[in-house]
Structures are given as C-alpha cells and as structure tokens.
C-alpha cells in the first residue's frame, strides 16, 4: 500500500457548470475539500447536490471550470489526458452504482484487467487477483461471469477491481444504490473494514442515511456548496 505524505485529495475552489439544452446548471460553486490519506469520507447530499460531479473531478474523470484538484499532491490541471489516465489506472480505484463490470469477462478477469493494463506479470497478477477476491469474499466465484452473480456479488467484484492494484484512494459513487439494504450494509461494512485494515482512502458519495450514520466523516453538499461537515469522535 502506497501512503503519500500529501493528502489523498485536495480540492481548491472548484466550480463546474453544465449546459443542458438552454439551461445552465451550476453543479459546483466553490468547493474546498481536503481528504487525508487513509480517511473514510462520505459526501452526502440529495440528488443534484453535486456529489457525483465532485467525485468525477476528484477522480480526474472531468475537468473543473475553475479551481484545482490535487491527487496525492499532483495537480491534475497540468496533466495530459494520457497522464490522467495513468493516474486513474495506478493511483485510483472506482466503484460505480451500476457495477460497470465487463460482462464478457469472469470475476477473475474483471479484477485482473486493470493489472494487465498496467503490464504486470501474469504470476503477480494471479496472486493479487486471488487475494483481492478473497478479501471481498468471492474466492469461490472467480470463474463466474457477472450475469451469474448477484448484485451484491457484482459490487464485491467491482470493489476487488478497485482495490487490486493497491491504489491511494477508492472513489465510490453511490455503490449501494442498486442493492437491497442488507447487501448494501454488508458492502459498507466491507469498505469500512478494508479502510481500517489497509488504510485505503475511501471517498463515498451517497444519500443513504444509514451509511451516513456509520461514516467517520461526512461532508454535506447542497446546490454545489459544502453546507455542513461532521466528524465522528473516532
């Protein structure tokens, strides 16, 4: 696990607007946020509050209109697309609401894919993939394709894919929204455990009150602004 001295994420004065037809939507209006390495952060807010947009900007999936994003001290604004792609591949992990696994690959191959992209040797890939699937409790489902897995299992595969290359941080955009409450709670517990054991930074966008209640740090967004922040004693 790589633990940089700089914060995992640092956002300074982020602004982002979207044009939808003739309407301009101000998704983010001057957001400042620092996420120390190893932290478990929930970005909470209702639909349209700017959670996903903030997550996209932190993950280098989109560029802000104004402001800067630093990932482990690296300013994303100064990077080419190729360099941003490399940062996403090596330093970040992503978990999506709808899993977004490659349907023609098995659980094992889905997790292996990112390591293959990075040019890792086959035997090293094998060790890492098996460890990652073991960690999310899917050691016995490695050869199953996504359509033969339940929603919870698919999200565990997605989580293994996000963790297998030992990233600095994992960004999860409403990862429990497509799951029933019990499965969702299991996933959150797993994320909290992994955060505790591996010290992987997690940034988690959700509006699920049950999850928000369990998170050590919660940042509330409304209309593209940070309106509240809560940190638990722990």
């Amino acid at each position: 696990m790589r633990l940089p001295e700089s914060p995992a994420f640092e956002a300074r004065g982020l602004f982002k607007t979207y044009v939808q037809g003739k309407v301009t939507v101000e998704a983010l209006s001057g957001v400042d946020l620092t996420v120390p390495t190893g932290q478990f952060l929930v970005i909470a807010g209702s639909s349209g509050s700017g959670k996903s947009t903030l997550l996209h900007l932190l993950g280098g999936l989109d560029r802000p209109d104004r402001g800067k994003v630093f990932v482990a001290g690296t300013d994303l604004a100064g990077l080419t697309e190729h360099e941003r792609t490399a940062i996403r591949r090596r330093d970040l992990g992503f978990v999506f609401q709808s899993f977004n696994l490659v349907p023609v690959l098995s659980a094992y191959e889905n997790v292996e894919y990112g390591l293959w992209l990075d040019g890792m040797a086959r035997h090293e890939r094998r060790r890492r993939v098996e460890d990652a699937l073991e960690a999310v409790g899917l050691a016995d489902r490695m050869r199953h394709r996504p359509d033969h897995l339940s929603g919870g299992q698919r999200q565990r595969v997605a989580l293994a894919r996000a963790l297998v290359h030992e990233p600095i941080a994992v960004l999860a955009d409403e990862p429990t929204a497509s799951l029933d409450s019990r499965t969702g709670a299991d996933i959150v517990k797993l994320l909290l455990d992994l955060n505790a054991t591996r010290r992987t930074t997690f940034v988690f966008a959700t509006h699920d009150p049950a999850i928000i209640a369990r998170s050590p740090r919660v940042v509330h967004l409304a209309d593209g602004r940070v309106v509240d922040e809560r940190r638990s004693a722990s």
């Binding site: 996209h56 993950g59 999936l61 989109d62 697309e81 190729h82 792609t85 490399a86 996403r88 591949r89 090596r90 992990g93 992503f94 999506f96 709808s98 977004n100 490659v102 349907p103 023609v104 690959l105 191959e109 292996e112 894919y113 990112g114 293959w116 992209l117 990075d118 894919r161 996000a162």
Partner: protein
C-alpha cells in the same frame, strides 16, 4: 486480453454477429467467384493464344521484327532464315523446350475454278504442332498429315469462312496462288483435308493452313520465316526466353526471341480490361461490406457507451479501446472470410459441375463455358484482404470512442 474480450464481444449479440458474418461471407464468396471467373478467362485466353499457333516463343531473324532489309523483305513478305533445321535441333535441345516448329507466312488467292478468294496462309509442321500441344479446331474432315507431302499430294486446311466463300468441302481440290520471292506468281493444286476454325469469324473467312513443304513448293524457296517454340510449362517462358537469347547471342544471322505476350498485345489489353472490371466490382463489394459492418459496429458501440466510459475511467486508454474495436473487426473479418471461402468454393464446384454455356464473345464463333478457376493463392489473398480491410470498418466506431466524454458515457442510458 483485448483480443479475448473482442472475441467474446462477438457473442454478446449473436443474431447481429451472424448477420455481420453473413455479409462478410457473401462479400468474400463474391470476390472469390469474380476472381475465379477472371482467372479462368486469363488462363483460357492465354492457352488459346499459345495453343492457337503463337506458341510460347518465336525465334526469327532480327530483320523480321525490326524491319525489312533483304531483297525478299522488300517484296513485302517477311524475311526468312536458311539454317532453320539446325536451329530447330538446337532449340529442341534446350531446357524447358517441348518442341519447335517452322512457320511460313504468305498471302495469295485461292480458287476452285468458279470462285476465288484472297487468303492469309500459314505453312506449319503438323507433327511439331502436335508435340507442342497446339490444337486445330476441326469442323469437318481431317488434320494435315504429319508426314511431309510429296509433290502432287499437297493438302490444305481451310478456315470455315474461306471454305464457305469457295464452296469447298473436304476432298475438293483448289488452286492456291501466291507471289514467290522473286516476284513471279506460282500456283499449287491442293486437296482440302478439312475445315477448321480459329474461334474468330473474321480470321476464319481468310485463313488457310498447309504443310511447310507445300508452302515452300508454292513459294519456290527452302526458307522459313520463323520457328515457333512450345515449352513444357508456360511459367517457364521467361526463363526459356532468356536462355535462348543467351544461346543465340553470337549467331551469324541475328535472331530475335519474342514471347507470346509480346506477340499478342490484345492479351494484355484484355487482361487490363478484366482487371479494371474486377477492381471496380471488388471496390463496390468491399465498400458495401465495410459500410455494413461499420454501421453494425457503430450500433454495438452505442449500446456499450457506459461500458466504454467505465473502461476509460479505470484507466483504459482511448488507443486501447480503439484496438479492442479493431480486434472485433478483425475477428469478424477472419471468421467471415473463412465462412465465405467455404461458401465460395462450394459455389465454384457447383457452377463448374453445371457446365453452363455463355454466349460467344463479340467476333467469336463458339459459346464459352462458364468455368471458374480458383487457386489457393486467390483464396488466401482474398481472405487476408477481407480480414485486413474490415479493420477499416472499425474506423467510424473508433472515432466515436475517441469523442466519448467519460462522465457523459458513465451517465449514458
């Protein structure tokens, strides 16, 4: 891994994949059939040219080719060479040579007493023609005898059109008149042995063939104009041509060696024409296939926008996604080409077995049989072409992927 994903992606929508494979297969089969037709036409025309009398090579005095020089030449007839018997023996001893036969060309008038007609005459050696595999298409009667005719026993073959003009049939006697090298007129009575066709109406109405000895008797000479050389295989033409040129480089009488393709420029013209037609048809077929597959792939990409967005998000480069699409196109091309070759070869077998007659080409006499000649090189070449050209079908979907915004793609429904 991209190749593996691409292969598996083909089976995601099997109906669409089978439709695409069908398009590629039909395109491949179409190209194969067209190539088979063109190749057969080329081969047929080549063999007709060679076996129709031109032979693979012609050896003649240089002045034959480069312009008249001797007194005989100035009389308007082609020059000749005297040592042709020795030369023929030398040529027949060279590698790849099956046989060599003398030829005399002459013109004159033939008459049966009531009707007369001008002709173009060829005096040949029938035994050598047979050994060279040359074919005389007899319509009636018999071929010229292989044994040299004695005086008074001269035989002639008439083109069917010339025979019609003279109302001559096998067994009739006609008088054949021609100018000798010294300018006087000579005539020889000849018995019509048979009627033949060259395959071309215009030529059939003018041509007659007789033996070299008869030609020499008619022209009052012991010379011949050239030696026609038949080879063991056509592919050895260039090699044999070079060999003979080298062999005759120091001969007393300068000799020229010309190959059949040089002497039959219409072959190259027909070949160019057919090649142009094949290229035109091939371009249309290829364009149709590429556009169809491209459209299908574009649909496939549109259905996978979210997946592509996720792949980009987790660190796949756009170039890698482009390679994924190229692999998909290449797989389609490869499988389609294999299936198309199987289909094409089956159709070739069926068409050849049906022995379909096609109308005679303009100016020709006989109908031609629709026969398709396919060689392994054509099959491999067309399969490779189809596979590679389909990579072009991946270009529009690739451009679409290059324009994808990750955030938009992830939100795509």
């Amino acid at each position: 891994m991209l190749a593996l994903i691409a292969l598996r992606n083909l089976f995601r929508n099997r109906r669409r994949t089978f439709l695409s494979l069908g398009i590629v297969s039909v395109g491949t089969a179409g190209l194969l059939l067209t190539a088979g037709f063109v190749r057969n036409s080329f081969d047929g025309l080549r063999d007709a040219v060679i076996q129709g009398g031109l032979g693979h090579l012609e050896v003649a005095p240089t002045s034959d080719i480069e312009g008249a020089a001797s007194p005989a030449d100035r009389s308007g007839r082609p020059p000749s060479f005297r040592e042709w018997l020795t030369l023929r023996t030398t040529i027949e001893g060279r590698p790849h040579v099956r046989a060599a036969g003398a030829v005399i060309q002459f013109t004159g008038v033939a008459t049966n007493g009531e009707r007369s007609a001008s002709f173009i005459g060829l005096a040949v050696e029938p035994d050598r023609e047979r050994r060279m595999g040359m074919e005389t298409k007899l319509r009636s009667g018999v071929n010229l005898p292989e044994k040299a005719a004695l005086a008074g026993e001269d035989r002639v073959l008439l083109g069917v059109g010339l025979a019609r003009a003279l109302t001559a049939v096998p067994g009739d006697t006609i008088a054949v008149m021609a100018a000798t090298p010294d300018g006087s007129l000579n005539a020889v009575d000849m018995t019509v042995a048979g009627l033949f066709t060259t395959g071309f109406q215009e030529l059939d109405s003018r041509i007659l063939k007789t033996q070299v000895v008869t030609g020499q008797r008619l022209l009052g000479t012991d010379l011949v104009n050239s030696l026609i050389v038949g080879l063991t295989e056509t592919s050895a033409t260039l090699q044999a041509e070079t060999d003979l040129r080298r062999a005759f480089a120091g001969s007393v009488q300068p000799l020229s060696v010309l190959n059949w393709e040089t002497r039959a420029p219409f072959y190259s013209q027909v070949r160019s024409l057919y090649s142009g037609i094949f290229a035109f048809l091939g371009t249309i077929v290829t364009l149709l296939v590429v556009l169809s597959i491209s459209n299908t792939m574009l649909m496939s990409v549109m259905e996978r926008v979210r997946e592509f967005g996720a792949l980009l998000a987790i660190g796949t480069s756009r170039a890698q996604l482009a390679r994924l699409l190229i692999f998909e196109a290449l797989w389609l091309g490869l499988f389609g080409a294999i299936a198309g070759s199987t289909l094409g070869l089956s159709l070739v077998s069926v068409i050849n077995a049906l022995r379909i007659d096609m109308p005679p080409p303009p100016g020709a006499v006989d109908p031609i049989q629709l026969t398709l000649a396919v060689v392994p090189g054509d099959v491999i070449g067309i399969c490779a072409f189809m596979t590679v050209i389909l990579a072009g079908a991946a270009v529009p979907p690739m451009l679409r992927v290059f324009r994808l915004q990750i955030v938009d793609a992830l939100g795509h429904v």
